[in-house]
Amino acid sequence: MNLKAGIAAFAVLAVAFAAMYYYGFVRESTDPLQATEAPPGQEGMPEVLIKGLSMSSWADGEKVWEMEVESMELPRFGRNAVLNNITKGVIYRQQGPYLGFKAGRASVDGRNRMQFTEGVVVSSEGKTLMTTESMSWDPATQKVHIPGYAEVTADGGTVKAKDLVVDLNDEYIYTTADIIAKQGDNVSITAGNMRYSVTRREMEIIGPLRIVIDL
């Protein structure tokens, strides 16, 4: 998905939010001062709660992403929208599903950046590819960033890495911090950084590395 498509995709989401406001999902008053104040006893409650959502985004005639969400909370003025329990998410690339994802929670900020938390799972071809606790998706750069530790799983091997980036414009997962890769019980690889091809399922390490094989 290119930059234009990404912006278009999130513009769709923004329009959807605006439309929901317009058609009365929100309170009738349009006074922003009133909108920021919740009625007594309802502090912390969302302005609007939508249950059972199926969303998809299209750009240039191609599906960009889709999500099935248990509920969405639309905030009072100045707060992020919150998606609860993303049961199924798909990112499309070259007119086909590229990566799947699910998470317990996601928040969308004013610049349409999504922050996924609570048991984030990214999958490829129906199999779990990555698990982590926090992941952000910036439509402007088309990069998924995992600042903490993530565990990448593929073909019986696992890679534990920190500070991981998935560039949705290409097929690679990048890490710049130390990694520990394990293949089965007897192969362990430590290195400084890694590039993993999601489509070819190949790991490439540039720089010093150490492989230990237990016979």
Partner: protein, 212 residues
């Protein structure tokens, strides 16, 4: 009783100690998880017990435990240094094959000492085209023509077999040994002891040429 128990534990821990292959490199690794193939590049070093293998590029399969080098290799094992064009090492069977311009240098420490009191050393150089080595015992078999030199002595044969524990090298097929004085001995086979100055020629026909 306690001593016996400790002894059993020590022996058991030694027997259970798993062998490891440790590979380090400075440049690059391309790992195909499905095939188990790892292509490693840049100052590659393989460490396996007392054996160290050096190369610029290595293909290692994590399933078969077979390492292949075809860009030149240097193998150091105790007092033996081997260089060759190509190497295949099977770490499951502990067998290694080197081919192409194979050169083996075996350094033997002698009982004699120099003026400074340091033991004198003999260097035996073996040139061949193909060598199969037992990584565990250091024994090897060389084929495809073998030339062995030690000081001014020279031995040539079609094949050679070395048993490290006995410091014994057996040469077979068309053996020609040239002594320091230029005398030659031709035989079907010969045994050279790398820690001694003597050799034994064997066969139905032994031809000795020497200058009087």
């Amino acid at each position: 009783m306690i001593l016996a128990a400790i002894l059993v534990l020590v022996v058991a821990s030694g027997a259970l100690a798993a062998k490891q292959v440790i590979i380090t490199a400075t440049k690059k690794l391309n790992y195909q998880g499905q095939k188990g193939d790892a292509m490693v590049e840049g100052n590659v070093k393989i460490e396996y017990g007392t054996t160290f293998i050096y190369a610029e590029k290595l293909l290692f399969n994590s399933d078969t435990k077979i390492a292949k080098i075809d860009t030149g290799v240097r193998i150091v094992q105790d007092d033996i240094v081997i260089t060759a064009n190509v190497m295949t090492a099977d770490f499951k069977t502990e067998k290694m094959t080197v081919t192409g311009n194979v050169k083996l240098e075996l350094t033997e420490e002698l009982a004699e000492k120099d003026a400074a009191g340091k033991p004198l050393k003999d260097v035996i150089v073996l040139l061949t085209q193909r060598m199969e080595i037992d990584i565990n015992t250091n024994d090897f078999t060389a084929t495809g023509g073998v030339t062995i030199t030690k000081d001014k002595q020279k031995a040539q044969a079609a094949e050679a077999r070395y048993i490290d524990a006995e410091s014994k090298m057996t040469l077979t097929k068309g053996v020609v040994i040239t002594t320091v004085d230029g005398d030659t001995v031709k035989s079907d086979s010969a045994i050279i002891y790398t820690d001694k100055e003597t050799f034994e020629a064997e066969g139905e026909k032994i031809e000795i040429n020497f200058t009087v």
